[in-house]
Symmetry: C2
DNA sequence: TCAGACATGTAAGTCGTTACATGATTCA
DNA sequence: TGAATCATGTAACGACTTACATGTCTGA
């Protein structure tokens, strides 16, 4: 039993911050969690129904002008408790499947140009991601130092933060998860350089 | 079409080194690729059948003393070409789902002790893995420097390497994939320290 | 008026894990 | 003789992706 249900608890956790619609959840994950998480509608909507069935969330109609229904999901104490319990469970060690490493490993009997290109392409792609992360990092660093959240960032934080204090805390974790992404990418880049500098003799 | 079929090409690649049985494949993946790859029997045996159906591999009986059948899979030119084609395809960017980051992110409104424990536990667990990796690294480093492959390592390499030259190359990629694992774990540990050193003010 | 964002959902299919079932061989 | 390892498979389930279907609202 239990096993996965990653989506279930990810959604529950987001709802514990603020009531949201399925669409909100998707938007939030894509904009703020994309460097370490993702969800798609095919999971989100059925999972929301599941949460309602299990009485871990409640569905409320939002007033809508037209005929199109809009819903918002709230999380009652029961759901909050379930979320807390999940948080305290030990994290399962993720099953790794690194395609680059696999290709690198399997191509060792090929000409060394092949491996060099493989690593070179990967390096370039990772470096591009790093530039993006660094840009976000700078914005967040500044916001944390000055305790002011300009434009886009404020919009993002207002999706989840209820109070000023939680806004500051969320900004901090947001920054720190980005730091994690940056460190891991830097490690990958350093590895690429190590490989490229010591080719097959 | 195409899409995934990770298992298919992983197996094809291993077979391109040396003919193997399903059991051999499992053993090899578990012992040498486990820091970046995994497979289970439920995937391996059906995938081997699939490869045979597609004429990318051929199944041969191994002489067995009893009634229990044993098989070995060989890879013909057609399979080798398919593998090469796959190697040259651009690598798909993996979909990340990092449970630790998720929990860390979602728990930001909890007391800071909770986050400290979360990160502390994770750090300890990652550190334990690092120690293992470092031990293997030392063995491989020595083998590479001295071009001698003692005991266990020789056994491992003999599963896949046909010639002395390929043995050396495989030892090198083996070492380098481990280096990757080590660098990534070190990045994670450094991140943990960063988080633990700058708690919520 | 038309593109793009808002908004909710379903169906089909693939991928992957887990548990089970079976039996042989080897070695202490 | 019994445990561990060798060895091959299947069935059921669960997780996840992709594509589709449908319709609204807002602003240029």
């Amino acid at each position: 039993m239990a096993a996965k249900q990653k989506t279930k608890f990810a959604i529950l956790g987001l709802l514990s911050w603020k009531p949201m619609s399925g669409y909100d959840i998707k938007k939030l994950v894509d904009s703020a969690l994309s460097h370490f998480w993702h969800e798609n509608y095919g999971q989100i909507y059925p999972t929301l129904e599941l949460l309602v069935d299990e009485k871990l969330a409640s569905k409320r109609d939002l007033p809508s002008t037209g005929k199109r229904k809009r819903f918002q999901y709230h999380i009652p104490r029961r759901g909050r408790r379930a979320f807390r319990d999940w948080l305290e469970e030990p994290i399962e060690t993720p099953v790794v499947r690194n395609q680059l490493q696999l290709k690198f490993f399997l191509s060792c009997d090929f000409d060394s140009d092949f491996q060099a290109k493989l690593i070179g392409d990967y390096r370039a792609q990772q470096d591009a991601v790093l530039q993006e992360y660094r840009a976000s990092e700078a914005v967040l660093r500044k916001a944390l130092d000055e305790q002011a959240y300009p434009g886009e960032l404020d919009e993002l934080l207002s999706m989840t933060a209820k109070t000023d204090a939680s806004r500051a805390r969320q900004c901090r974790v947001f920054y720190l998860t980005l730091r994690h992404g940056i460190r891991v990418i830097e490690a990958r880049l350093a590895w690429c350089d190590e490989v490229l500098q010591c080719p097959i003799e």
